[in-house]
């Protein structure tokens, strides 16, 4: 029997498309009340995983149990208790905002009065009350995304699945969405989210897995991952292109936990960035710019995969 507070359990879960393995034997557990994230670049297999959890993509191998049920045999029963925000909006743009919620509520067999009541609350929550009777088509990307989030909550779901909730939005629209998701989190919502934005993962996820090439590279809270795979601080140095390689070579004499030489910068992973900068100065190096910052999940990803998250 699964532990009572584990809502999703995946064991060596695999998805293949023909010969291509999109999700490669991943194992994870989702606990009640947590915000769990998949962080990885495009093509990592995040959406494929989400679609399997959403019971619209039969696993090719491994085990998957959602709310104690089997996604293939009990798809409709499971989906009736999930909320889904897919990567691409599937709103009916020819209908109004309210009609979209009405139709979606009916998919769950909810009575009209219940839908009407929830629609008011949800539109208020996603700040779309004034647009309730407007057609969806002309709404901005951020508004559509918020409407999709409102729609995903119409059935009062037990787990909320969010596939790249803010991809493609401008920074301001992203912050509005983040704010709403953060409130959901505060209300104790259990959510699974995928993202390729490390700041999104850091802000919203209690626990996350770093995914790359269909595999899970690491797992933990953002803090744990940073502590485990990176240093307290990072010193970023930028040199004149003609001096870049030479400088990188010299920098090996500065004591550091790790050094990454990128095309345009050198990153030194150190406990104390200022001290490292002073040490670089003592070696006679004169960077064009220097920056001391805290480690982020981006650094974790770089360490784990040798590549950057966002390109």
């Amino acid at each position: 029997m699964p532990a009572p507070d584990i809502l999703v359990r995946a064991h060596e879960l695999t998805k293949r498309f023909g010969q291509f393995t999109a999700v490669d034997a991943i194992s994870f557990e989702l606990r009640q009340g947590e915000a769990f994230g998949f962080l990885g670049p495009n093509g990592a297999g995040k959406s494929s995983t989400m679609r399997m959890i959403g019971c619209v993509s039969p696993p090719t191998g491994g085990e998957l149990s959602i709310l104690g049920m089997d996604p293939v045999a009990d798809g409709p029963a499971i989906r009736s208790r999930l909320g889904v925000v897919p990567q691409e909006d599937t709103l009916d743009v020819e209908l109004t905002v309210r009609e979209n919620l009405l139709i979606y509520g009916r998919y769950f067999g909810l009575p009209r009065a219940v839908i009407a009541d929830r629609t008011d609350r949800l539109l208020d929550f996603v700040q779309l009350t004034e647009r309730g009777n407007d057609q969806v088509e002309p709404l901005s990307g951020g508004m559509k995304r918020r409407l999709t989030i409102a729609r995903s909550l119409i059935n009062d779901p037990e787990i909320l699945l969010l596939d790249e909730p803010t991809t493609g939005l401008d920074p301001q629209a992203r912050h509005v969405v983040w704010d709403r998701l953060f409130r959901l989190k505060q209300q104790g919502v259990t959510l699974i989210l995928t993202t390729h934005y490390m700041d999104e993962a850091e802000q919203l996820c209690d626990r996350l897995v770093v995914m790359d090439g269909g595999k899970i590279a690491a797992e933990g809270s953002p803090r744990e991952l940073i502590d485990q795979y990176s240093s307290a601080e990072v010193l970023e140095l930028r040199f004149h292109p003609s001096e870049h390689d030479q400088a990188a070579e010299k920098l090996r004499d500065v004591p550091a936990e790790r050094m990454e030489v990128l095309a345009d910068r050198v990153l030194l992973y150190v406990p104390d960035g200022d001290a490292a900068l002073a040490a670089a100065g003592d070696l006679g190096l004169e960077p064009l710019t220097s920056l001391v910052r805290r480690s982020t999940l981006e650094d974790v990803f770089l360490r784990l995969t040798g590549r950057r998250l966002e390109d």
């Binding site: 498309f17 009340g33 104690g68 029963a77 989906r79 009736s80 897919p86 998919y107 067999g109 909550l153």
Partner: protein, 283 residues
């Protein structure tokens, strides 16, 4: 400031009540998708009614009355079963109108739902299964068929193109004729990524059928070697049965063959569509 509680239910791994795995029956599920189409149709129904009325008026006026006068003067009534051209033509056009309605509802709307608007995916993320989505769409197609065919029958009667009260039975027959097209075509349309094959379907399927399946003239006028081709088209069966009902000349055995043929096509379309919808929506 506190956010309104939009989250009320506590999750539970164990199905809370006995029967939590139970889902509504297939009809209830399909009705949910049907209602989606109804809400959508609210925006466009007026325009569709206009054309449902205008089409039979134009066709029956031009071909039944105009061309019909010429045909009738020619004194060939024997080959038309002893009735005027208008009376001969009208039930054929009824079946053809059902075909046209079916093709319209089962091509672009299906591709649009999976490719352009992606509304099928919204339904699939909710409890509906691919087959429920398919059945619901077919239900809506059926409703459109009933509407259009009923309007056609009314216009037809107004033109005095009806000979027998049996013509009322032509309504379900025309709807069935439409479904014999709609079910297989929806099953096919869901497999498409582009609409180019629809143009071919209209050009090489619908139009030749419209012209050569007995709508405008008896198939017996065609060269003998080509007639079997007309007999296998669903439209010929629909036309023949609608006509025999409208003229009051239907016999039981022949009618059963036509109905059986049309039912078989619809049933095959439904069986195939359940699979193709699943394959498309559950990747």
């Amino acid at each position: 400031m506190s956010a309104p509680a939009v989250w009320q239910r506590q999750p539970a791994v164990e199905p809370a009540a006995a029967g939590a795995r139970r889902v509504p029956g297939p009809v209830v599920m399909a009705l949910r998708e049907f209602r989606f189409w109804l809400v959508n149709y609210r925006r466009t129904w007026k325009g569709t009614i206009y054309s449902s009325v205008l089409n039979p008026v134009l066709y029956l006026g031009a071909m039944g009355l105009g061309l019909g006068k010429l045909v009738d003067q020619h004194g060939q009534l024997g080959r038309l079963g002893g009735v005027s051209y208008l009376v001969f033509l009208a039930p054929g056009l009824l079946a053809a109108a059902a075909m046209e309605t079916a093709m319209g509802e089962s091509t672009y709307p299906v591709l649009g739902s999976v490719k352009w608007l992606k509304t099928y995916y919204a339904a699939a993320a909710a409890p509906l299964r691919p087959r429920d989505i398919f059945h619901g769409h077919l239900m809506f197609t059926t409703m459109r068929l009933i509407m259009n065919c009923a309007i056609f029958l009314v216009v037809m009667s107004a033109f005095g193109a009806v000979k027998s009260a049996w013509v009322l039975a032509a309504l379900p027959v025309a709807v069935l004729t439409g479904l014999a097209f709609a079910a297989p075509i929806e099953a096919f349309a869901i497999t498409r990524d582009k609409d180019s094959s629809f143009a071919a379907l209209f050009r090489f399927g619908m139009i030749p059928m419209f012209l050569f399946s007995g709508t405008f003239f008896p198939v017996s006028q065609l060269p003998a070697w080509i007639r079997p081709l007309a007999y296998v088209t669903p439209l010929w069966h629909g036309v023949a049965l609608c006509r025999s009902l409208s003229l009051g000349t239907a016999d039981l055995a022949g009618s059963l063959v036509h109905v059986g043929y049309l039912l078989a096509l619809a049933a095959i379309g439904i069986a195939v569509g359940q699979r193709t919808y699943r394959r498309r929506l559950y990747v």
